[in-house]
Structure formats: structure tokens, C-alpha cells
Amino acid sequence: MTKPLKQIHLAAHFPGVNNTTVWSDPKAGSHIEFSSFVHFAQTAERAKFDFLFLAEGLRLREQGGKIYDLDVVGRPDTFTVLAALAAVTEHLGLTGTINSTFNEPYEVARQFASLDHLSGGRSAWNVVTSWDAFTGENFRRGGFLPQEERYSRAKEFLATANELFDSWHGDEILADQETGTFLRHAKAGAFVHTGQHFDIHGQFNVPRSPQGRPVIFQAGDSEEGREFAASEADAIFSRHATLEAGQAFYTDVKNRLAKYGRRQDQLLILPAASFALADTDAEAEELAKLVRRRQVSGATALKHLEFVWNRDLSSYDPDGPLPDIDPDVSDHHISQGRAQVRMYRDPLATAREWRELAEANNWSIRDLVINTGNRQNFVGSPATIAKTINDHVQADASDGFILVPHITPTGLDDFADKVVPLLQEQGVFRTDYEGPTLRHHLGLAHPDEASEKRAAS
């Protein structure tokens, strides 16, 4: 007996404010004009994608005390642009990254519930946490949160928001013009939450939305992050897009579900994935190389080397050899507002390893950064990429992918036109939407049905 084919889930990540996005390409358009968002979202919907994904960062990155100027900078407010996109799409899910540290549950819950109403049930929330005082300088609270408390706040934030979403059950609004009864009872939306991070009570003021709650995404990769996802999330935005790492992550996280009384299909694993698509595999390889060089200019290469060296390297020649001085391992870090720098846990060892690599291959600084940096996850012709994606999903390395094109806003066009039809022909991707809400697209039960099942079992 053969295993039934899994259906693939696909999403579109609006190109981000990092060097994956190639702004210097002649085809690159605006990152802020609404027309770019419209083109991108409508392309994703034309291709029957599950959802659009927006990342967020609440302070512009700085390096060496100055605003980082080499990558795309600037993006819209997440909720506001998603609400506008709801007007120009009909089915596409709308996923926003919203921080649980620099927001309050009452406000975020009313924004998501409102977005869910205004989109007819298409909202999703990627719950992220941060603790840094640097970002906190833009907010009332400041950066008070100790790092070890960020997940405890995130968990309580989400639990509190869920209490607010659930404070309306969906049958309160009678709006009976004859009898004059608008609300079934005066306590609609009543809630009390008392906890370590939030002590709030009153009445929530947005009635139950079409999806009940937004679909919940989690993106962290730590042990705590994985447990948080296994207990609370509907989907994970992961970074493990290769086959082996994907399978390991998939198995690890799905095996954590049972202890929370959840089935394996109640949590989707969706890695972010970049791609280089061309008519032939050989052309795609060439394109991939070209894009990598564009993603890492000489100036960008020096800045990336600074993540490891933690020093000002602006006097070095990016086309020359690596610095022979050692990294600065003090606590003060040259880069702020960026998660990437924490990957280099032992900078002295990394520096040593990179010098050896550069010498062995006769690489300049720029060559090294290009060759040690992220390669595109999928490189090839439409047939090759369609096969690779399908193979990954059928081999349980993921349930689908969140694609990250490198060109705004047209970077998804060829994928939509050339790869999606092949997946559809193979019967592993929808040819049309089968329901109105994002929960339908993702095969997730409405929270009311889910809780009924739990109560019945």
C-alpha cells in the first residue's frame, strides 16, 4: 500500500529588509508603494497560494552606531497594509508578524479580530518575541524584558489574546429590530486575566470573527520556541528548508504534539525557502550565482564580516584577503536590531575557519561571504523545482514552503506561471480554493470544532 500523496501548502513572503532582496536589479520596484503589495498579493492569489506573509522589525538596524544603509530599508505597518490587501484579494490568507513584547493583548486582539472580520476569515498571526532595549527605545515600556522571560511573556500574551477572542461566542448579536434587542446579554466579551505579565479585566469590544481566532504561527527555533509551537501554534515558519535538516526538525516538532493532546496534522511545518528559477537547470545555476553576487556587494561583504569580527572593518578591501586581526569578543556588539549576529557563538573559531577556507580557495572577503552565506534553497528549471518541492513534502521534510523571492514585486511571477501548474498536474497542489477562510486552505479546524472534539474525546 502506498502512502497517499500529501497536498503541498505554499505561501509568499513579501521580500524582506535584508540582503536576500536584490534592490539593485533593473526589475526591482518599490518596497513601500501599495501597488507593489497589490501585485505581489494578486500573483500569490492567482497561483492559489495559501497565504501572504509579512515580517516585521520595530527598529531600523544599526551597525557601528549608524543606521544600516546597504539593504532595503522601510516597510509599512503590518495590520494596516494587510487590511488594505483584503480589499484587492478574495481568498488569500493574510499573515502578519506581530511582536508580543512591544504590544498589549487587548489592542492586538482587537486588531486581529477586526482584520479577520474585514477579510472574511483570512487572518493569521506570526507571534514573535524580543527583549532588546534597543527596540524598546521606540515604546512606552522600554526594553525591560529579561531575555529568559520573553517566552513566558509571549505565552501569556497569546493565552490572554485567546481569552479575548473567546470572550464572544458568536451568538451574542441578535440585532432584532422588532424587539429592540441588539445584544443577547450585557456581559458579552467579559474577561478577567490575572497573571505574571498581564492583570486585566473588562469587556472585549470586537464580536467573534469568522475564524474564531486568527491562525497562529510561531517562528522561533530554540527548545522553548519548539515547545511553544507544539503546545500553541497552528503552523511553524521554520528555517530548515534542506531535506535532512527539514526532516529532523519535522520529526522533532511533530513528536512533541502528543503530549499536548494534539494530532500531527494540527501543526504545519512551513520553512522559508528562496529559489532561482530559469528555463533550464544550467541557466538556473548561472542565475543563482549572479543573484548571490548581487546580494553580496563588496560593501555588504565587509558588513557581514563585521558580524563575526565585531569591529569596524571599513578600511579593508572586500576584494582582498581576510583581516589578520582577531574578532572583538566583548559584550558590546557592533550590530543592533538583527537576529543573525547571534548565530556566531564562537567568533574566534569562526574567524579561524574562514581564514583557512579563504586561503585554501584563494577567496577574497567578498568571495568568502558569498560562498559561506545562504545558497538559494531551490535552483533549477520549473520541472526540477516542482520535483524538489514535492519530494521534500512527501518525504516529510515539510508540509510546504513559504517562498522568499529576491525581487520586489515581480519575483513570484515566474514561479506562479511555471512551477505551480506542474504541481497542480501532479495532483499535489490545489487548482482552486475550496473554502473561504485561511483555516480551510490549511486544513485546520475552526477553534470551536477543535474544542468540541477535545471535550468529546
Binding site: 487590511a83 512591544f102 521606540n138 512606552r140 445584544l183 560593501a299
Partner: protein
Amino acid sequence: MSSTPASHLHLAVALDGTGWHPASWREPVARPRDLFTAGYWADLVTEAERGLLDFVTIEDGLGLQSSHFLDPDERTDQVRGRLDAVLIASRVAPLTRHIGLVPTVVATHTEPFHISKAIATLDYVSAGRAGLRVQITARPNEAAHFGRRSVPRIEAYDHPDTWEPVADLFDEAADYVEVVRRLWDSWEDDAEIRDAATGRFIDRDKLHHIDFEGRHFSVTGPSITPRPPQGQPIVSALAHGTVPYRLVARAADIGYVTPHDADEARAVVARIRAEQNAAGRAADPLHVFGDLVVFLDDDPAAATARRERLDALAGQPYTSDARIFTGTPAQLADLLHELHSVGLTGFRLRPAVAGHDLPAITRGLVPELQRRGAFRRAYEAGTLRGLLGLARPANRYAATTV
């Protein structure tokens, strides 16, 4: 102050649920079951745009509506529950082309950083038609929704003992608007350079920390969102006394006021202009709009009968901070002309029943005003600032880098 002919007045409509009368939802035209759908709001704003109105405002609040000024009322016979006003505005922006969109934002419990980028984004998605109405809240139950602080309990907004705590909330709102405005300017218009030669996407000398430090919050900036199309979207506030008049005079582009006759209107305008002079903004354009609740019918007796019918359904006569007008479009045009002549530059009309009085404004009042040469016959500008006769302002930070 503008290219608008002096004889022209400005018109906005204040949208709130099914209308401003508490029994409005019971009218057959009211569609109360649609209140939480995008289609309901799209229909209202499209109707307002059909009437060539300058903008709509959208009410909001951080708790359930209440007939009591301070506390929840536990009533079940009126509309309760609402959607976030900024998101409603954004949802309808792509469906409209000319009309301004001015959602309410509550300064007391929210983050100026978030609101600044939200309104900037509304300005992007509407191609230059965004504004905000800033509001404070002294409601203890709303403070408890956030749990961050308590607000002193007040007896009434006009009670002498409340002046200090209310003034404090308005001071915070003034700081809030200052931060929102600085963040809008924190990117210069030409900050994005895409200079392939140096690999720089932006000229970082054209991005500015705003370094605001106040009693209630400090914000470093810059915004994560580039300067919006209008440069500075419209800031407006409803004002009933000296403290809010001062906020309007210092920080706003439009103040909404509630005089009940021409003499009061003249006096209110004089007080706001005096505050404006005291704030050193005498040269800045500042609109003062009169707020009016309207029951409009072609037959004055029909308007009166409708108001009485709604009052009977509500169980008590409707009262309002604003003057309540009941009559025909021609009578309303007369009143607006009179109030315009003593210094009000425009009007924000609050339809008693949105489904009835909004079309009466767009299809009755507007043609009447047009016949009198007092209102536009076509949209003359692409942005809300343009409709209001306000130039696109220079960036406050631009000069510092020269």
C-alpha cells in the same frame, strides 16, 4: 489659505455604527447585522465619495460603547461592539479614489510609534488621503483593559475637580501627536537613493532619530515606514473647552467644535485663534469645523416625525454635545451658510441614521450647496491635504542636514 474659493465650505461625515441616534439601528435601512463586515463600511464611504465630501471620520474606542460618559452601561438595546477604525479605513481605501479617511485613534493607552506607522501606511494605501482624529479616554474600565496604569476617577468632563487629570490626559495626547508627527518626518522624502556605485539603498543622513523625551514616554525613532505621500497626514481633534482648544491650536490641522448658534461659533473660533496665536502658529492654516447631528428629509415634518419615532424607540429624547439639526437640506444649507460666515471653515455632519441621513447629505444637501456656489462640483485635488487647501509641508528635519 487655499485654492478653495472663499465661498466654498468643507464637508465631512462622522461614521459611527448605524448612526448617531442610539435607536438608529432599528430603522429598516440600518443593516445592523452587517456592521462587522467590510461591505457595510465600503458602501457608506462610497456613498460619501459620491457626494464629493472632503473626508469621513470613523469613531473608535477601547471598550464597549456606553450611554454613560464614564462607565459601562450594561445595555443590550443599543449597538455594542465595533471594529478597529484604522483597519476599516485601510480596508476601504483601495475601493475609493478621492475621499479622505480619518479614523479615530485613542492616545491614552496606545503606542505613538505604532500609530504613526499605521497612519503613514494608510496614507500609502490611499495614495495621500489619510488623517487621524486623536482622542483621550478617562474611562476606568478602558484603563483596566490595559492594566498598565489607573486613571483618576472624574465626576464629569466639565467638573472643576476634573480639570487637572483631564488636562494631564490632553498633555499626553499633545506629546503623542508630537511624536507621531516627528516620526512622519523622520525620513526625508529623498532618503531612498538606490546608489549602485556605493551599494547604499538609503542615504542615512536623511533618516533622523527623533529623540523625544516626555513625561509619559520616550521615543527614539526613526520610523520603520518612510515619509508618507502627504508628508504630514491630517491631524484633527474634537474640542469642547480651553484644554482641548489648546491641543487643536498647537497640534492639529482641523478642530471639530460644537457651537449651538452663530454667536457661540464666533466665540469658539476666536478662542481657538487666540490659542493659535499664543502657540506661535498664527501663520499656519487651521480649520475649525462645526459638528452637527442631522436628521434630514425633504419635508421638515418628516424629519421631525422620524426623530420623534427614534426617541420613542430609545425611550428618551436624544441629546448630544453637538447641535441637533432637524429639517430639510435647504434649511441645513442656510444654517451652514450662517455658521460659515462667522468663521467656521467646514462642517462634520453626524448622520442620525447612517443609512438615511448620509444619502440625504450626498444627494440632498450637496446639490443644494452646489446650486448656491458653496461646494465643489468635482474633486479638485488628489490628496486630503489638497482638498483642504493645505500645502505639502516641508520636512522639519530637512534643513538640519544642509
